[in-house]
């Protein structure tokens, strides 16, 4: 089975971003970038399926700026076999990405598409579900466990009340949650080897997809700051403050 893994280049998860003074966007100049953590979990899951003999080939794709090649190479160092980089002039919308991925699915005919459930920059949590709609496939979102059994995928999902297990016809779209696996680190020889793995460089136009975004960002502001709090010296003082100052306990 071929597995397609779309990955996104985003700000490193440890970075606390700041809003630009003109409120046009966040300031990402000289900020450390990395693969979106949920995408890393998707790559890891694909690699494990290949190690188990379920998957035969892992194709990783990234859409965005040319520098996203770094994230594709990282996925290759972790075990992906080849890559597709689609460069775009502007950051594409979720639906735009889903349309490009649909074109790639049509071309590659994967048995499974594994994606992160959300990117930690736009926090949208949309692309996998949109791709599922466009391809007419079943979707297993927020997966914490994935079992492939013949032409079905059994996926356990993290839902508000606990866990839910679904059986999906393959090919299917799976989006990863945090507990699906713990991604490995790339080894140096694998990082060197990844540099020689095949990478196709494309543009959106190559797939006949016109990117547009019907949702315009008017402004970006920092969130309301919390007023500085106080340190209390004892539990008794804490309870007193909660009862008599904050009045949240009676």
């Amino acid at each position: 089975m071929k597995i397609l893994v779309p990955v996104k280049r985003v700000v490193d998860y440890n970075v606390k971003v700041r809003v630009k003074p003109d409120n046009s966007d966040v300031d990402l100049a000289n900020v450390k970038m990395d693969m979106n953590p949920f995408c890393e979990i998707a790559v890891e899951e694909a690699v494990r399926l290949k190690e188990q003999g379920t998957a035969t080939e892992i194709v990783v794709v990234s859409i965005g700026e040319a520098k996203a090649e770094e994230q594709i190479r990282k996925a290759m160092a972790l075990g992906a076999d080849r890559g597709i980089l689609i460069t775009t002039d502007e950051a594409p919308s979720s639906l735009g990405v889903a349309k490009l991925l649909k074109a790639i699915v049509d071309e590659e005919q994967p048995g499974l598409v594994l994606l992160g459930k959300q990117s930690i920059d736009s926090d949208n949590n949309q692309t996998g579900q949109m791709l599922a709609a466009l391809t007419g496939m079943a979707q297993g979102t927020f997966a914490s466990q994935l079992l492939i059994d013949g032409d079905k995928a059994q996926v356990t999902r993290e839902i508000d009340g606990g866990l839910q297990t679904l059986s999906l016809n393959l090919p299917a779209i799976i989006t990863t949650d945090l507990r699906l696996n713990e991604p490995r680190y790339a080894k140096l020889p694998d990082i060197m080897k990844a540099k020689r793995k095949p990478l196709d460089k494309k543009t959106a136009a190559d797939y006949g997809v016109t990117l547009s975004n019907s949702v315009k960002v008017l402004s970006v502001e920092p969130p309301a700051e919390r007023k500085g709090g106080i340190t209390v010296g004892s539990v008794a003082e804490l309870v007193d403050k909660l009862k008599n100052e904050a009045k949240v306990l009676s």
Binding site: Q129, A132, G161, P222, G229, I230
Partner: protein
């Protein structure tokens, strides 16, 4: 303008978060209809009819909708939703699962997790784990939106909308429910509780969470956890508060043994009053806390409980 709200429910009762979405819809303005799609969910439809400001309840009762499978539900809503200007659902795991699928079927973008309604086409939403708030404007003919329940008040429950059955029950046949493992608790639901007590890695193990349960029961509070505590296996995933877990905004949030990573803060910093108990005085949680107590939680928790 006309708005369709997708009701959140478990076939037996309507989840309170739906009433918060009605308030968001009222801010957009226009006729508000609510879709209850479920199986044997008549009581939910009856409850939804009481939501104030709702014009009509559309009731799709079919086995295909019994577990809110996105494949079946999105097809139904795409069909029903064509005549509406806005389709809203709470940003619950059900809403997050189905709404983007619906949006793609309608060939529109989806706007996730709105915090406010600025106008009928302009909304605020958090990005970068809530470290920035974007104001976005949509030019789509149908606006598909998920709503952060804690950002809007609940609506009143003195309405008397009509309930209209809709047909079109169709099982797409590509996905099936196998089973579920739902947490059973007598405590209030995390996202709706007035007080939330949360534990982190500092709790050391799952057994020690009993200290939090005892305190929570005394306060009629819900119990949450940081990602670190969930990843370490202390407690199940449905207790996680944070960027990718549950978003809470109670009147009182008590963080115990939680360091305060930005991903956790994203899930709780809109709480009215925040208390942090941690023995590390440099823990970032103290920067957002209204009341910080530098203490060993194993001393502080029993003392706290006794003082109530």
């Amino acid at each position: 303008m006309s708005i369709l709200i997708i009701a959140e429910h478990d076939n037996a009762s309507l989840a309170p978060v739906t009433s918060h979405v009605v308030t968001a819809a009222a801010k957009i303005g226009g006729d508000i209809d609510v879709l209850v799609a479920g199986s044997g969910a008549q009581s939910v439809a009856d409850e939804a009819a009481k939501l104030s400001g709702v014009n009509k309840v559309l009731f799709a009762d079919d086995a295909a909708y019994s577990h809110q499978l996105a494949e079946n539900l999105a097809d139904l809503v795409a069909e029903l939703g064509k005549s509406y200007s806005h389709i809203l659902a709470p940003a619950t795991t059900n809403g997050k699962n189905m709404m983007p699928r619906l949006a793609a079927l309608l060939d529109v973008e989806q706007i996730s997790d709105i915090l406010s309604v600025e106008s009928a086409d302009t909304f605020k939403r958090p990005i970068y784990a809530g470290n920035a708030i974007a104001t976005v404007q949509s030019s789509d003919s149908i606006k598909v939106i998920t709503v952060r329940g804690t950002a809007f008040d609940a609506c009143e429950l003195n309405g008397s909308a009509s309930v209209e059955a809709v047909t079109g029950g169709h099982d797409k046949g590509i996905s099936a429910f196998v089973g579920e493992d739902l947490a059973k608790s007598d405590r209030p639901e995390l996202t709706a509780a007035r007080i939330v007590v949360s534990g982190g890695r500092g709790m050391q193990n799952g057994d020690n969470f009993k200290l939090l349960y005892t305190l929570a029961d005394k306060l009629d509070a819900a119990v949450g956890a940081s990602r670190a505590a969930v990843d370490a296996g202390f407690v199940p995933n449905d207790m996680q508060v944070g960027q990718t877990g549950k978003i809470v905004a109670p009147e009182l949030y008590i963080a115990v043994g939680i360091s305060g990573q930005i991903q956790h803060l994203a899930g709780m910093k809109d709480s009215k009053v925040i208390v942090a108990i941690n023995k590390d005085e440099d823990a970032p949680i103290f920067q957002v806390a209204d009341y910080g107590l530098v203490a060993d939680l194993f001393d502080a928790l029993p003392e706290f409980e006794k003082a109530l």
